[in-house]
């Protein structure tokens, strides 16, 4: 009740002294009382881990932007519709993006299972008017995020498609895979290094094992190292992350073992320089100009160092084969390297190089996903233009996504 008393006092003051504080909008008339918010609704915030209640209301007619006279809303909460209420948060005026007539806010500090009643105080002209929600609200946590049904369907569809084709490939169905120029060149590039008696460098990017591109790069390393072992070419893998070093050693060792030359393997082929992006680039630049490798692979996640590395490699005349899914760095690799695996091709590379039916099957599954997306775009275009249905909204991901 404290608040209403306060507003009563405020109102009395304003009535008694027309020259005080806030000037009334129409001089001469008594100052207006702010009009209240309406249709207060409070409910459990959907699709969350609990401890949150959403409050929404129709804005006060005095909540007008650009006038500077509206002072926002106070949200109060109590255990009964008659109070007592305690202040939980204050929000400024202005409406929601999709429906500006209403305003929504969250009380993220509730106890699950407890019933709360909410009050909204509209504040303007030094006055305050209260509106209270009739229905109580209880917060709870949910076990399925209903906003993500579309994602769930996509996950199931894609997994099923990939698994289906993997199973098909295992049973001996023949699969056609188009040529990928950069990968066709691997043998030639490794062969050249052997002929020239120079090294092969394999740079697996500057990111750690928590990036799936790094993992994809390392699977390619496995195939490249095997070819190198067969050709008896020397391969060097300078890395910028310790976990990558550990993994790359396992990968190269296994490749040498599979190529029937386990004795030629040594841990020194894979070495750590520094975790630092540009420190690593400086180190590789030095190694490249001093050891003049015949072939350099860049496979993994790269940032701004991409061009620093590729230009230095180019200056010594090495054959360079790059591959990354960093869209912002692709132009530089395309400009400075002989071959570049673009985005998805990086992920397809290990399957392509291995010729293993199981892996190739997964590519076919991926393609089915692509076909579905192309169809969705074409069908979506027609539906979207006809105005019959907002097809795009099927693909909106509101929660959970980045």
């Amino acid at each position: 009740m404290k608040h209403s008393r306060l507003s009563f006092i405020l109102i009395s003051i304003l009535f008694l002294s027309p020259l005080s504080g806030q000037p009334p909008p129409d001089s001469g008339n008594p100052p207006p009382l702010v009009r209240p918010a309406e249709e207060i609704r409070a409910f459990d915030t959907p699709n969350d881990a609990g401890n949150s209640i959403t409050i929404t209301w129709k804005r006060s007619p005095d909540d007008i932007a650009d006038q500077g006279r509206f002072d926002g809303y106070d949200i109060l909460r109590g255990r009964s519709p008659d109070g007592p209420f305690e202040l939980v948060l204050s929000v400024p005026g202005g409406g929601n993006e999709n429906n500006p007539l209403y305003k929504t806010c969250l009380d993220n500090n509730t106890e699950d299972g407890t019933e709360y009643y909410y009050a909204v105080d509209a504040k303007a002209f030094g006055t305050t008017t209260r509106a209270v929600s009739r229905m109580p609200a209880k917060s709870s946590q949910q076990w399925f995020n209903t906003d993500l049904v579309n994602m769930l369907i996509a996950v199931i569809f894609l997994s099923a498609a990939i698994l289906y084709y993997i199973a098909g490939a295992k049973s001996g169905k023949k699969l056609y895979i188009r040529k990928i120029a950069g990968l066709e060149a691997v043998d030639e590039a490794v062969g050249r290094a052997t002929e020239m008696g120079r090294k092969i460098f394999f740079v697996p990017g500057t990111q750690d094992m928590d990036n799936v591109q790094t993992i994809a790069g390392l699977t390619i390393l496995g195939r490249v190292a095997k070819v190198a072992a067969e050709y008896e070419a020397k391969i060097d893998v300078p890395v910028s992350r310790s976990l990558v070093m550990v993994t790359a050693r396992e990968v190269v060792k296994e490749a040498y073992y599979n190529a029937g030359r386990p004795d030629s393997y040594s841990d020194d082929m894979v070495y750590y320089l520094t975790d630092d992006q540009f420190g690593y680039a400086a180190g590789i630049d030095g190694l490249v100009v001093r050891q003049k490798p015949a072939t350099i692979f860049y496979q993994g996640a790269f940032y701004a160092e991409s061009l620093i590395l590729a230009e230095t490699g180019n200056s010594i005349g090495a054959i360079q084969i790059a591959g990354t899914a960093m869209a912002s760095q692709l132009p530089f690799f395309v400009a400075a390297c002989d071959y570049t695996l673009i985005g998805e091709e990086l992920f397809a590379a290990s399957a392509y190089l291995s010729h293993e039916p199981k892996l190739l099957g997964s590519l076919k599954g991926q393609d089915l996903g692509k076909l579905a997306i192309i169809l969705a775009l074409v069908v979506g275009l027609i539906i979207q233009l006809s105005g019959a249905y907002d097809f795009a909204s099927i693909f909106s991901v509101s929660a959970g996504g980045e």
Partner: protein, 217 residues
């Protein structure tokens, strides 16, 4: 067993994380954060392996009197200097506060080196564009033209050259059209492809079909 248990670990963890995406309730809602904390812990432990490797490789060079052995010595010394300053002379947790010896090393040694290495790009974009932007094939010509328009559209010169044309043909307008329409189209195709590639790679890793990262028996 040396490969089976790791494969089970990877598969279980992967599937649990996919499922947690759809479940807001605890403990699933925060599993993502917990696991990324765990990753940081593993990463921070593993850096010992990298650091020791750096010292070993450099130490070998000194021992074998490799022709660049003095530089190998400098690597070891500067590594140790940074580590000792960081752990013993910079106030523990507040090691990066302004004024600590560690932050001074950062400001006066590390920063200028990083910044200059980054700035080398100014030269390399020039030499790369000189070589790459030649109208050798039809594809290369498209690449060249797009780059040319966008580059000119971003300096006053471009608009000066095209000032007499209607506004929508001004170089800066053409450049922003290229950036906003065909460029975005290409970007999106690449991004969608990457999404599918990632999904497929992740699935192969979770199912243990792709397991070269685990090495052999």
């Amino acid at each position: 067993m040396k490969r089976e248990i790791p494969m089970i670990i990877a598969g279980t963890v992967g599937i649990v994380l996919i499922i947690q995406y759809f479940i807001p309730a605890e403990p699933f809602g925060t599993l993502n954060d917990v696991f990324s904390d765990w990753f940081s812990i593993i990463q921070a432990s593993a850096i010992w392996l990298g650091a020791l490797n750096l010292i070993k490789v450099s130490g070998d060079k000194i021992y074998r009197r490799h022709k660049d052995w003095p530089y190998a010595a400098i690597i070891i010394v500067s590594f140790l200097v940074m580590v000792i300053i960081g752990f013993f002379f910079s106030g523990g947790r507040r090691f990066l506060d302004p004024g600590t010896p560690f932050s001074q090393m950062y400001d006066y040694v590390y920063s200028p080196l990083t910044a200059m290495m980054f700035a080398l790009l100014a030269f390399f974009v020039a030499s790369a564009s000189y070589r790459a932007f030649r109208a050798r094939t039809r594809e290369a010509t498209v690449l060249l033209l797009a780059a040319f328009f966008v580059m000119l559209g971003r300096v006053p010169l471009g608009d000066m050259l095209t000032g007499w044309l209607p506004r929508w043909l001004h170089m800066s307008e053409v450049a922003s059209w290229i950036m906003n329409i065909p460029n975005i189209a290409g970007q999106r195709a690449i991004m969608i492809g990457i999404a599918l590639g990632t999904v497929s790679t992740s699935l192969r890793l979770i199912l243990g079909i792709e397991r070269s990262y685990l090495g052999g028996e």
